[in-house]
């Protein structure tokens, strides 16, 4: 199963690298003309911008590729189109939006590729989560989840992330934030929520700080806060995509904390990271960055 995921990911990016410009159009009947134009321009720009990094990322990928899983490809492309569409307020802004969207989408693809690459490289036996060295909190998450469970997909700077609903504390409109002095760049501020304070994280700054340039920061328009369980932490996001039911077997679970303990795995079909909310809360509360490791806890 995990090999199939490797292949699917590899095929997706291979297709992205080699796909002729006029090949994709079938599933976008409902989109507006402006969106189609943006989508096409986005795709063209993405091909240019991501070609080099993706070639590097997948230089050593398996050679025995199967036919591309068109459904996976379309799903990811649709995500990009949704992001593009949401960022275009009117036709008058199309030119600017095209540039912005291209940047954002290419960033998200790179980041998504990084997440997927890490997951695929670290996994050895994705179902044997009880091995020595497993993330305790990942195991805890798996124990909490039914065989089928619901996840919420949300977007930030074109990157799609998933959070299991059992770990979702709520979704709140982003309102007035009170910045606190001396906090890291990723700490946006505290927002009042139900008579208490909710610490809002600049998700993009935390998840991909190396790509979070001032230019990208200006493009990101956060609208919601995804509250994490019962904690006082919430992730800012630009858009809520969907809630779907997935099976445990449809997630490529990570066996090791690796560089991203907050990442529980990858939802195979959507090819997006699923959050290990417990670990994420631990990390945020400790002021850790996205690649820091959680200090080991006595077993």
């Amino acid at each position: 199963m995990s090999k199939l995921v490797d292949d699917a990911v590899c095929d997706y990016f291979s297709l992205l690298l080699s796909e002729p410009v006029n090949q994709q159009s079938a599933s976008k009947n409902s989109l507006t003309l402006a969106t189609l134009n943006i989508d096409e321009l986005t795709r063209k720009t993405d091909e240019k911008l991501t070609r080099q990094s993706l070639e590097e990322l997948f230089a050593n990928s398996a050679r025995n590729k199967q036919q591309p899983e068109y459904e996976v490809v379309q799903a990811i492309k649709s995500d990009i189109v949704v992001a593009s569409d949401s960022q275009i307020p009117s036709e008058a802004d199309v030119d600017t939006s095209q540039i912005n969207t291209s940047h954002s989408a290419s960033t998200s693809i790179n980041e998504q590729a990084m997440i997927v690459a890490e997951v695929t490289s670290e996994k050895q036996s994705h179902t044997s989560v009880s091995q020595e060295g497993d993330l305790v909190s990942t195991q805890t998450l798996l124990e909490r989840l039914d065989e089928e469970f619901q996840v919420l997909f949300f977007k930030v700077a074109g990157l799609t992330l998933a959070v299991p609903l059992v770990s979702l504390g709520g979704i709140i409109n982003l309102e007035k934030l009170t910045p606190l002095i001396g906090r890291p760049k990723w700490y946006m501020g505290a927002q009042q929520h139900r008579g208490s304070q909710l610490n809002v994280v600049d998700t993009c700054a935390w998840v991909m700080p190396e790509k979070y340039t001032n230019a990208l920061a200006e493009q990101v328009t956060y609208q919601y806060v995804v509250a994490l369980e019962n904690s006082q932490w919430g992730l800012s996001c630009e858009a809520l995509v969907d809630t779907i039911t997935v099976k445990k077997s449809e997630v490529n679970w990570r066996n090791h904390a690796g560089k991203r303990p907050w990442l529980a795995g990858v939802v195979k079909k959507q090819m997006c990271g699923i959050l290990n909310v417990d670990a994420l809360i631990q990390m945020l509360s400790a002021g850790l960055g996205y690649q820091d490791t959680i200090p080991e806890q006595p077993r």
Partner: protein
């Protein structure tokens, strides 16, 4: 107001004391300091710079014959500097057995907060200014940031002030 800063909030709950905080504004955010540490609030008066003083010291003022060092609060909090205007105040405080002044954008009011109404600030951030915040509290749909004046300066810096 009672003779002491805190009063028992309820007969059945002696722990939940009420504390008074003087609130001031800095960069459009509201901060609170323990009223017991506030001696007085002055309108802005000319601050005489002191050559060779630490960067966080704006200078000194003459307060009824006493020399008081004024701290650049904005700089200390990592905020951009701002022009002095009619609302600018110098709050004279006592901390670490020293009397100093802190320059603020404006002084608002004295508020009463139960201890239970004070939340911990997230313990993240390695910058020194992160230590200044001892808690936050929701009040009138606004977050009040409570400042620990004793931690405004390090031990060495408090010592340094005595030698200005």
């Amino acid at each position: 107001m009672t003779s002491s800063n805190s009063v028992a909030a309820a007969a059945g709950n002696n722990e939940d004391v009420v504390l008074q905080w003087v609130t001031f504004k800095l960069d459009n955010e509201t901060y609170g300091i323990n009223v017991m540490q506030v001696q007085e609030v002055l309108r802005y008066t000319e601050i005489a710079p002191v050559p060779g003083a630490p960067h966080y010291v704006l200078g000194i003022i003459n307060l009824r014959g006493n020399v008081v060092t004024v701290i650049d609060t904005r700089s200390r909090f990592g905020l951009a500097s701002a022009d002095v205007n009619d609302s600018t105040r110098i709050v004279i405080i006592e901390a670490e057995k020293q009397v100093i002044g802190i320059l603020v954008d404006s002084v608002a009011e004295v508020v009463y907060l139960r201890r239970s109404e004070i939340d911990n600030a997230p313990n993240v951030g390695t910058e020194e200014s992160a230590k200044f915040i001892q808690g936050v509290s929701n009040r009138d749909n606004e977050l009040l940031i409570l400042v620990d004046l004793d931690k405004l300066l390090s031990d060495e810096e408090w010592m340094e002030l005595t030698q200005i």
